[in-house]
C-alpha cells in the first residue's frame, strides 16, 4: 500500500483542538488583563473587559478557567512529553535548527524538545501563578494573608507571568514560523511530508493511521 506526501494525517483530535484554543483564549484574556494591572501603560486594555473593576473581577476567574482547562489537557499529553535522550540532542542543536541549518533533528516523536521544554515549564508556572493569584484574590482570599505575603505573591506572580509570556511568545512564534503548525491546530491534520520532516518518529508510530 502506498501513501502520498500530501495525504493528511490526524495530529490533533477535535477535543484537543478545542481545549487548546480554549486555553489560548483564556491565556490571552489573562495576559491582557494582567498586563493592564501590571503597567499603567497598558491600563487601556481594561476597556476590553468593561473597565477596571470588571477586569479585576474577571482576571482571577480566568485564572481558574486556565487551571481547569490547562491541567487536564496537559495531563493527557504527559506521555508524549516524556524527555528522551534524543531530546537532549535536539536541544544541543537548537540554534542550528532555528537557523534552518538542518541538522538531523533525530528521532522526534509527537513533540520536539522545544515543545517539551515549553510543556514542562508551563506546568509549574501556571501552578505558581494560580497559587500566588489566590493569595491576591480580593475580596475572598487575600484578606486572610498578611501584607508581606501578598507583596511577595504579587512579585512572584508578575515575574512568572513574564516568564510565561516569553514561553508562550516562543510557542506562538514557533507555530507561525513552522508552516503547517497552525493549520494543524485549526484543522487537526498535517501532511505526511510535514510529519516526516518535523516528527519522523511520530509519523512512524502513527504510520498505520494515515491511510486515506
Amino acid at each position: 500500500m502506498s501513501t502520498r506526501d500530501g495525504d493528511l494525517i490526524l495530529r490533533h483530535t477535535n477535543a484537543v483542538r478545542v481545549t487548546h484554543w480554549a486555553v489560548a483564549i483564556v491565556f490571552t484574556a489573562l495576559f491582557t488583563s494582567g498586563l493592564a494591572l501590571f503597567s499603567p501603560f497598558f491600563f487601556w486594555l481594561s476597556a476590553l473587559f468593561g473597565g477596571g473593576p470588571l477586569l479585576r473581577f474577571i482576571h482571577p476567574l480566568a485564572g481558574v478557567a486556565l487551571v481547569l482547562t490547562f491541567y487536564p489537557y496537559a495531563l493527557s499529553h504527559l506521555a508524549d512529553n516524556r524527555w528522551l535522550p534524543a531530546d537532549s540532542r535536539w536541544v544541543r542543536h537548537m540554534f542550528a535548527y532555528m537557523r534552518k541549518e538542518h541538522a538531523d533533528v533525530g528521532e522526534t516523536h509527537k513533540y520536539n524538545a522545544g515543545q517539551k521544554l515549553m510543556y514542562w515549564s508551563m506546568l509549574p508556572l501556571i501552578a505558581v501563578l494560580a497559587g500566588t493569584g489566590v493569595l491576591l484574590w480580593q475580596p475572598w482570599f487575600a484578606p486572610h494573608f498578611s501584607a508581606g505575603v501578598r507583596r511577595l505573591a504579587g512579585l512572584v506572580h508578575a515575574a512568572c507571568a513574564f516568564v510565561m509570556f516569553v514561553g508562550i511568545g516562543i510557542h506562538v512564534y514557533a507555530a507561525i514560523w513552522t508552516e503547517g503548525s497552525i493549520d494543524a491546530m485549526i484543522r487537526g491534520t498535517v501532511t505526511r511530508a510535514w510529519a516526516r520532516f518535523h516528527h519522523p518518529a511520530w509519523l512512524r508510530e502513527v504510520g498505520g493511521k494515515d491511510e486515506p
Binding site: F43, R56, A147, A158, F162, F165, W177
Partner: protein, 293 residues
C-alpha cells in the same frame, strides 16, 4: 484647575508627570498621644462628617470598638494595657491613615487616579476609580486601607480633604476636646511637637519622641509618643518603609523590564522571521514512494 490646596502632585498608575509649577504648604495632623484620653470623639466626628455608620458589634473584652478599621471606620481608638517595672500604662492610640509622603498604597495601586496625593501632602482615595484589587492594602506599611466587602472599594481616612480644601480643619481635630489633635502646616506641627517634648521629658518620659518615619518619606500625620523608643507599644511599626519586594513589584523599573520583555519577544520573533523566513517542509524532502523506515 483644581482647588489650590487640592492640586494633585502624584497619582496612582500615572503615565505622565503631574503639574508641579504651583506649590502649596504641606499640612500635617499632630497627634499628641500624651494628651489623648481615648474619648473617641474623633471616631464619632469621623463617622458624622463622612456619613459612615459601622455595625453595632459585640463586646469582645476591649474598649477598642469596632474591633478594627473598616470601610465604615476610618479612624479607630486602640487601647493597649502595658505593665513595665510595676507601673501600669494604658496606651491609647488613634489608628488611621498616616498620609505618607512616599505612600506605599499609591505605589501599589494599578488603577490610574484611584489614589492621589495632593500637593499639601494628603493622600486621598478616589473610590470611583478604584478597581478593588486590594494592592494598596498590601502596599501600606501601616495596614490601614480596608476593602469593603459590599462594593469592593477601598476606604481610609481622607484627612477630610473636602474640609481642608475650603480652609477647615479635619473633623477629628474639630472634635478633640483635649487638644490632643492639632492641624496646621507640617512645619508648625513639627515645631509644636518638639516644644511638647520638653514637658514630657520633665515628667519622666525621657524617651519621648516625634514619630515622623523617614522610611516613608515622613508622614502628614505625626505622633508625639511618650514612649518614643517603642512605637510598637502603640501598634506602630518601628521602621516602616516601602520595602524592596514592593519596589521590585510595582516600580517603574520592573514595569520597564516587563514591557521590554514583551517587546523583546516580539522583536526577536520579527527579526528571526525576517532573517530566516518560515520553516516550511523543503521540497526535496518530498519523495514519492516508500516511507523511510
Amino acid at each position: 484647575m483644581a482647588l489650590q490646596s487640592l492640586d494633585v502632585k502624584n497619582q496612582s498608575a500615572r503615565t505622565s508627570t503631574p503639574p508641579t509649577a504651583r506649590r502649596t504648604p504641606e499640612v500635617a495632623k499632630l497627634v499628641d498621644v500624651s494628651r489623648c484620653i481615648g474619648c473617641k470623639a474623633c471616631q464619632s466626628a469621623c463617622m458624622e462628617w463622612n456619613d459612615l455608620r459601622d455595625v453595632v458589634g459585640v463586646q469582645e473584652g476591649s474598649y477598642t470598638s469596632p474591633p478594627d478599621l473598616s470601610d465604615q471606620s476610618w479612624t479607630l481608638m486602640r487601647f493597649h494595657e502595658e505593665e513595665r517595672d510595676g507601673a501600669l500604662q494604658w496606651l491609647i492610640f488613634k489608628d488611621g491613615c498616616l498620609h505618607c509622603e512616599d505612600p506605599g498604597c499609591l505605589r501599589a495601586c494599578p488603577a490610574p487616579g484611584a489614589i492621589v496625593q495632593y500637593s499639601n501632602g494628603i493622600v486621598d482615595f478616589h473610590e470611583e476609580q478604584c478597581i478593588g484589587c486590594g494592592y494598596c492594602t498590601a502596599g501600606c506599611p501601616f495596614d490601614v486601607p480596608r476593602l469593603s466587602g459590599r462594593d469592593s472599594k477601598v476606604y481610609k481616612c481622607t484627612l477630610c480633604s473636602d474640609r481642608v480644601a475650603v480652609g477647615l480643619e479635619p473633623a477629628c481635630i474639630k472634635s478633640c476636646p483635649t487638644g490632643a489633635l492639632h492641624f496646621g502646616s507640617k512645619q508648625d506641627m513639627l515645631f509644636e511637637a518638639e516644644e511638647r517634648l520638653g514637658d514630657l521629658r520633665e515628667r519622666g518620659f525621657t524617651r519621648a519622641a516625634v514619630y515622623d518615619p523617614r522610611g516613608v518619606g515622613g508622614t502628614h500625620v505625626i505622633h508625639l509618643l511618650p514612649h518614643g523608643d517603642r512605637p510598637e507599644a502603640y501598634g506602630l511599626p518601628a521602621r516602616p518603609k516601602v520595602g524592596l519586594v514592593q519596589r521590585a513589584w510595582r516600580s517603574g523599573l520592573a514595569r520597564g523590564v516587563g514591557v521590554a520583555t514583551l517587546a523583546g519577544v516580539l522583536v526577536a520573533g520579527l527579526l528571526h522571521y525576517m532573517r530566516y523566513g518560515p520553516l516550511d517542509v523543503p521540497p526535496g524532502d518530498r519523495p514519492d514512494g516508500e516511507v523511510k523506515p
